[in-house]
């Protein structure tokens, strides 16, 4: 569409989009502001306030963040790999196979969306103990691996893939797993990307269960380190908390910034002409 001339509609839209974006980014902006300024400027926004990295130093001294990062990274990878694997298989079954009990089983899966794993903490802790997994990274990961959300999401995506593609692959001799691997998974790439991002950010930020099921520095994720700064007797030190927040969610933010081009491109590419 060549919109020559002045387009008021577009201008208004752009303005509104930007206004909302600025509003949305405010907490992050505030985090950046306080993290780089002394505590005295937590509530005072003066352009010439002195910059400092002390807050980061304080934050990083509070816990072995390097190790926690590694743990979180391992944890998130494990969860993501497990989720992709299990959810793909299950979603494929729900999307393209007819079998008795399908509706019932799908309802069971949906139920998982409703049951908050945190509520079942005591039972799950017992299970982990039974499996002798307490204080290991898999123990943090296992309850989340079969994700109702992931299954549901992938099922929806798989259902939108034209059946002819499936059929063409089958006629070409692909087995059902071949069809899954060669047709469904590549075409659902945007969904995997979106789901991956959501899952990563969720588990990157998960706190209570990891805290309870782990005991050692070798297994604990960054949020446990972060929690040192919150809910404290001595008043909130926003500058340090925000420095820690930036430190811990920085990788995620950067990953998103880097990814976003690919993110969008892969959406485009999957668009079926």
């Amino acid at each position: 569409m060549t919109g020559t001339g002045f387009d008021l509609d577009r201008l208004l839209n752009t303005l509104a989009a930007w206004a909302l974006a600025l509003l949305w980014v405010l907490p992050l902006a505030y985090a950046v502001w306080t993290a780089f300024h002394p505590a005295a400027f937590e509530a005072r926004f003066e352009l010439l306030a002195p910059l400092t990295l002390d807050n980061f130093e304080k934050a990083s001294n509070a816990a072995p963040f390097a190790r926690y990062f590694l743990n979180t990274f391992l944890l998130v990878s494990l969860i993501l790999a497990g989720q992709f694997f299990l959810c793909t298989l299950a979603a494929f079954a729900f999307a393209r196979f007819e079998f008795p009990g399908r509706t019932f089983l799908f309802t069971l899966v949906l139920l998982q969306l409703l049951v908050m794993p945190d509520i079942l903490m005591v039972e799950n802790y017992q299970t982990m103990r039974l499996l002798n997994l307490v204080d290991t990274i898999p123990a943090i990961a296992l309850p989340y691996i079969a994700s109702g959300f992931g299954i549901f999401l992938l099922r929806q995506t798989f259902m939108t893939i034209p059946r002819e593609l499936d059929e063409a692959a089958r006629v070409e001799g692909a087995s059902f797993l071949g069809v899954l691997w060669k047709v469904y998974i590549p075409l659902a790439k945007p969904t995997y990307l979106a789901y991956g991002l959501v899952s990563v950010s969720h588990h990157w930020n998960n706190f209570l269960w990891p805290l309870i099921v782990t005991n050692s520095v070798d297994t604990r994720p960054v949020t446990v380190g972060l929690s040192i700064f919150s809910a404290i007797d001595s008043g909130v030190e926003w500058s340090v908390i925000n420095a820690a927040t930036l430190m811990t969610s920085g990788p995620l933010l950067i990953a998103f910034l880097l990814f976003q081009r690919q993110f969008v491109q892969s959406f485009m590419r999957a668009g079926i002409k």
Binding site: E164, A169, V171, E172, G173, K182
Partner: protein, 357 residues
């Protein structure tokens, strides 16, 4: 013809035994029995919605059969998945994998069957050359025009050299020139490689020029299955008579002509191309409209109150409003029972003589 680079391969026969397919209430395919000889080229022809695609998909194993049996190479494959039926297929909607390049789309099946890389590349090159796709191998289907997409689909089907190839209107988006070329190529390929071809088309020219056997369907039922020439020259019923041949055969009740008013129970037919200008001929026609077709002229005229189409040579220009006299050979007449629709060859001579008298 570069097709001789491919090794010969022998086709397999296909039998459909009273195959039906229901979609809830509607019967898409109704107790259809067809015999498709090994290595033959069979065209499934019929109007839109008559069940051609459904029939083809049942042969492919993509649609379950509501009742009846399907045999391939003598084996009952009714319950076998398509991946085990050892056939290839070109879809009406192309069904190209949008995430794969043209090259990857074409060699998809070879990869699935783990054909060695060298062999694969060699075959790809041949097929791409054949179909004029060599320049496009790295593109994604989304970047191709409709016709180019269809050629990719065609490439994917023929590269596998399967004993059976199914095609669902593979040429419908190609331009006339390319379509003609592809028609010849596909036919040649099929004859050379010897596979059995089942070819769905709504284009009777395609069916007639390419097929050994044309299966004409209507509302899910078999109207006639015969070699093209027979279909054209001896249509078994009025439906076939009108469906085969462009423009379609002129059909009229026998009693439209006073001379035949004694025979109200019959329908008569004459093909537009069997009628020619003939001063003093039996048919006196008032010309209504004239359509220019390049090589010929198609005239729409009225004879004895009935609408008629006549194909005339361009050389003899006629104008709307004119009146001309026409004639036809006696054996150019077709006679059908008005009720059963059955062909009555026995009556042709009699009516022919009456009409021309």
């Amino acid at each position: 013809m570069k097709a001789d680079a491919f090794p010969a391969n022998s086709g397999k026969p296909i039998q459909l035994e009273t195959v039906s397919r229901l979609w809830g209430e509607t019967t898409a395919v109704d107790a259809l029995s067809i015999d498709i000889p090994a290595g033959s080229f069979t065209a499934l022809l019929g109007p839109s919605g008559c069940g051609k695609s459904t029939t083809l998909r049942m042969i492919a194993g993509l649609e379950s059969v509501s009742s009846g049996r399907i045999l391939i190479g003598g084996e009952d494959v009714t319950g076998r998945p398509s991946s085990k039926r050892d056939l290839s297929m070109v879809f009406q909607s192309y069904a190209l994998f949008p995430h794969l390049s043209v090259a990857e789309n074409i060699i998809f099946g070879l990869k699935v069957r783990r054909v060695a890389r060298g062999d694969r590349d060699q075959r790809l090159k041949k097929v791409a050359d054949l179909l004029g796709l060599s320049q496009l191998l790295d593109r994604k289907p989304g970047q191709l025009s409709g016709g180019q997409q269809q050629r990719v689909a065609l490439g994917r089907a023929i590269i596998g050299e399967k004993p059976i190839c199914l095609m669902d209107e593979p040429l419908s988006n190609l331009d006339a020139k390319l379509r003609h070329e592809m028609r010849v190529e596909i036919r040649a390929l099929q004859q050379q490689l010897g596979f059995t071809m089942v070819y769905v088309t709504h284009d009777q020219v395609e069916a007639i020029t390419m097929a050994d056997q044309v299966v004409l369907l209507n509302k899910g039922r078999l109207e006639q299955a015969a070699p093209p020439r027979e279909l054209y020259e001896k249509p078994a019923n009025p439906f076939t008579a009108r469906f085969i041949g462009t423009p379609p055969m002129n059909l009229f009740p026998a009693n439209a002509f006073k001379k035949l008013s004694t025979a109200p129970d019959f329908q008569l037919g004459v093909r537009p191309e069997a009628i020619h200008p003939h001063d003093g001929g039996p048919l006196v026609a008032d010309i209504r409209t004239v359509e220019y077709l390049g090589a010929d002229i198609l005239a729409d005229c009225v004879v004895a109150g009935t609408s008629f189409q006549v194909r005339l040579p361009t050389a003899k220009p006629v104008a709307p409003g004119e009146r001309i006299e026409l004639g036809f050979e006696p054996d150019a007449l077709h006679v059908f029972d008005a009720d059963s629709g059955r062909r009555r060859d026995d009556l042709v001579a009699e009516f022919g003589t009456l009409l021309r008298s």
